[in-house]
Point group: C2
Chain length 157, copies 2
């Protein structure tokens, strides 16, 4: 369990943790890999959420998964990308969380992924929680905890 003071300090700027879906590039599961290649190359994120028509989160797709489809036996075959869709290459076994934020679970998931998608009760995509925002909170904690609190080793009895 995470201690109350550590939790409080990490969550001081909790409102900044969620990057709203309005500000996150996504792909549709029906997009061609040609389109996905363009989006993933231009936005500067190597992996983005994939949504269905109902705005539900159905997967994550990475630039390397798309590029991998271009490798032919000898040469690069970009024409492969026109005939395949995001749904054909995306990961579907992905972590996701809902609000209110479960800090413990989120911190654990972020060890293995650079961001965790957030969904509502209808599984619709509402945003992401990123390592970047959590690391800002960690910097805050690391610098402020012992300014605001006395930290005293417990005596073993």
């Amino acid at each position: 369990m995470i201690g109350t003071t550590v939790r409080k300090m990490l969550l001081e700027n909790e409102d900044d943790f969620l990057i709203s879906s309005d500000n996150v590039a996504t792909l549709s599961e029906s997009n061609s890999l040609e389109h996905a290649l363009l989006v993933l190359t231009k936005i500067g994120y190597s992996r983005v959420p994939v949504l269905n028509k109902e705005e539900q989160l159905v997967g994550l797709v990475s630039l390397s998964q798309v590029v991998d489809q271009m490798f032919g036996i000898e040469d690069l075959e970009p024409e492969n990308l026109a005939n395949k869709k995001v749904v054909d290459v995306m990961d579907t076994d992905i972590p996701m969380i809902s609000l209110p934020l479960d800090l413990e679970k989120t911190l654990h998931l972020l060890v293995n992924d650079s961001f965790i998608p957030v969904v509502n009760e209808l599984k619709q995509f509402t945003g992401i929680i990123t390592r970047k925002e959590i690391l800002k909170a960690v910097n805050h904690l690391a610098h402020e905890l012992e300014i605001e609190y006395d930290v005293i080793e417990k005596v073993n009895t």
Copy 2:
């Protein structure tokens, strides 16, 4: 400044922080972008260190920087990749650190980058420090600090 107890707990597994260069995929500045595309697609990292002949760190190159060179006016032109080298597209204005670890600086740099390259006094690449390893230490701190220590709010005088 980071407090002594927080520092101590974050650094408890400091030896695990450095992922040695032996275990990190790198590219040479003279590699063709064709080769870079293959390496960056197959290893599962979207950005890797670039070394010169003296094993010195000279930049970082990402999969999107390589793929971007394939976009022609209308079509994808993979043949562009054979004529260009990693040195032509890599970032050279990159953060790097040396050991012994400056925890404060490292935590700050990791807000903006998913890993920080580590170099020796000759600027030779020796490894990376990743957000993943730091987040493991943060999980440890978050769970253990208030088990091992009493944390008491300071009284303002």
